[in-house]
């Protein structure tokens, strides 16, 4: 009888443990992010944003007052201010959009490369990599006059990426030596077309030699009344949806203000292969 009771007890404990493990597994939250190159022009009351995808529809990160949001880069920590978090349901996943004031930094042009965004609360610390973030606080760099501007996107390795800019310049400019979105992309001005392409293109139809990965700026462009398609290259392919544009024209730097090239919420399913898992450190005491 005693043996039977022990067996029943062991079975009950094992069963309970199995249920508990199963529950923990199903209730485990996961977070993903899409590696992106982000760039903003600093002005007071401007916002920057970061996107995180999660299986949780009620993540603690929604409750701003319970979290601290900071960027860590090398030994520096930058606390994000006026943070708000919005959530949008996307198919079977939830997109959290973290919006905060653009950092006011004492530099005209500052770049975070491989920095980290940390969100800490009583439950966990989320750490995710900011692959590239640049902030332009224009002082000597002048605003450019552009008569027409929009981006062209093409599928690269299965996902839609910004591959070029369609531009018609203002009258005051002569020679373009460099153009870059967020000071991240590089320009190959030898492949410029003197007409515009569409929003969604197959870049190889127009420029068969195009290779999105390239490190160096090449060539220059004599600016005329024409409209141009200027292809963009990336040192490492990172998704770009918005950003400022930096120009080197007639040996002077100009910028076009932060602009959205594409205004969709990026669907997790469309970029699934490129999503990276966010590191979670539980028991944050």
């Amino acid at each position: 009888m005693k043996k039977l009771l022990i067996v029943i007890y062991v079975l009950a404990v094992s069963f309970g443990a199995l249920i508990f493990i199963g529950y923990r597994r199903t209730s485990e939250e996961f977070y993903y992010y899409l590696p992106q190159a982000k760039s903003y022009v600093y002005k007071e009351d401007r916002k920057m944003n970061f996107e995180i995808y999660s299986n949780s529809d009620d993540s603690i990160i929604r409750y701003v007052e319970n979290n601290e949001f900071r960027i860590k880069s090398n030994d520096e920590t930058y606390i994000l201010t006026n943070v708000s978090v919005d959530m949008v349901k996307q198919e079977n996943i939830y997109l959290y959009i973290i919006e905060a004031d653009v950092l006011n930094l004492p530099y005209e042009l500052f770049e975070f490369i491989d920095a980290q965004l940390e969100i800490s609360n009583s439950k966990f610390i989320l750490k995710f990599k900011i692959d590239f973030l640049s902030i332009l606080n224009p002082n000597t760099i002048e605003l450019i006059s552009i008569n027409d501007l929009f981006g062209s996107y093409s599928y690269v390795n299965g996902s839609l990426e910004l591959v070029g800019l369609n531009i018609k310049f203002g009258d005051n400019y002569r020679k373009l030596d460099r153009i870059s979105v967020g000071n991240y992309t590089v320009s190959n001005l030898t492949f410029v077309l003197d007409y515009m392409l569409g929003n969604e293109i197959n870049i190889l139809d127009s420029i068969p030699n195009y290779n999105i990965i390239n490190n160096e700026n090449n060539g220059s462009l004599i600016i005329s009344d024409s409209s141009f398609f200027i292809p963009l290259n990336y040192p490492k392919l990172l998704n770009i949806t918005e950003g400022y544009i930096l120009f080197e024209i007639d040996e002077k730097l100009y910028y076009f203000d932060t602009f959205s090239f594409i205004v969709n919420d990026l669907l997790y399913s469309d970029y699934k292969d490129k999503m990276k898992l966010v590191e979670i450190k539980y028991d944050n005491n």
Partner: protein
């Protein structure tokens, strides 16, 4: 016998009732676009009465219960130009830097539009409603509730030359499925009309200047 008839009447009433409520449930945001360019086929609003009559022949065959759908255009890719998001004019003699704020809705949306007596019936019910059934038969998920979308405010500074106008608008791609549908309850045609499902795929911003 009376009880049975009474129960059948009650059952039919309960079944039909939900399709007559929430008339404004159909969302037709794409109707506000200034232009939709379809390489083939046309939009529901451009169908003539004769064309609709011809299409109705495909849905006259009664189905016991549910929606009978005929697709004239199925997932036809098209492009669009939205209305102007922002417009600013400089009528002066010198260039001006304008600080502008643009609001853009960033969501992937499915819009449903209907005509004829179907228009008042394309509402949401717990089972998906007429709208949901038509969507299912067309292979498009049409939500009964308004999809939450995000309004993104973007502030930017732009130079506008003398006698020029700068505008910001959206262009993009969408897909169109349209045709006609008839809804049957116990072999009785309750309503019929044209329908259109428009799925917004991508939205791209464009800034453009022109002389006044």
């Amino acid at each position: 016998m009376k009880k049975v008839i009474f129960l059948i009447v009650i059952y039919m009433f309960i079944s039909i009732f939900p399709i007559f409520i929430n008339i404004d449930a159909a969302t037709t945001e794409y109707n506000t676009f200034s232009e939709i360019m379809m390489p083939e086929g046309k939009l529901l609003s451009n169908f003539t009465n004769e064309e609709l009559k011809e299409m109705y022949k495909h849905v006259e065959r009664t189905t016991g219960w549910g929606v009978n759908v005929y697709k004239e255009n199925s997932n036809v890719d098209a492009s669009y130009i939205s209305n102007t998001l922002y417009s600013v004019e400089n009528k002066g003699a010198t260039e001006v830097k304008y600080k502008i704020e643009v609001e853009v809705e960033t969501s992937n949306k499915v819009s449903f539009n209907a005509s004829g007596s179907l228009n008042g019936s394309a509402s949401g019910t717990t089972k998906g409603g007429v709208k949901g059934e038509i969507g299912a038969k067309c292979g498009v998920e049409v939500s009964n509730t308004t999809t939450k979308s995000r309004i993104e405010k973007q502030k930017l500074e732009i130079i506008v030359e003398p006698n020029s106008r700068a505008i910001i608008y959206l262009t993009g791609s969408l897909s169109v499925t349209n045709g006609v549908a008839a809804y049957y309850v116990a072999f009785i045609q309750v309503c019929k009309g044209g329908f259109e499902i428009v799925t917004l795929k991508n939205q791209y911003a464009r800034v453009e200047k022109a002389l006044i």
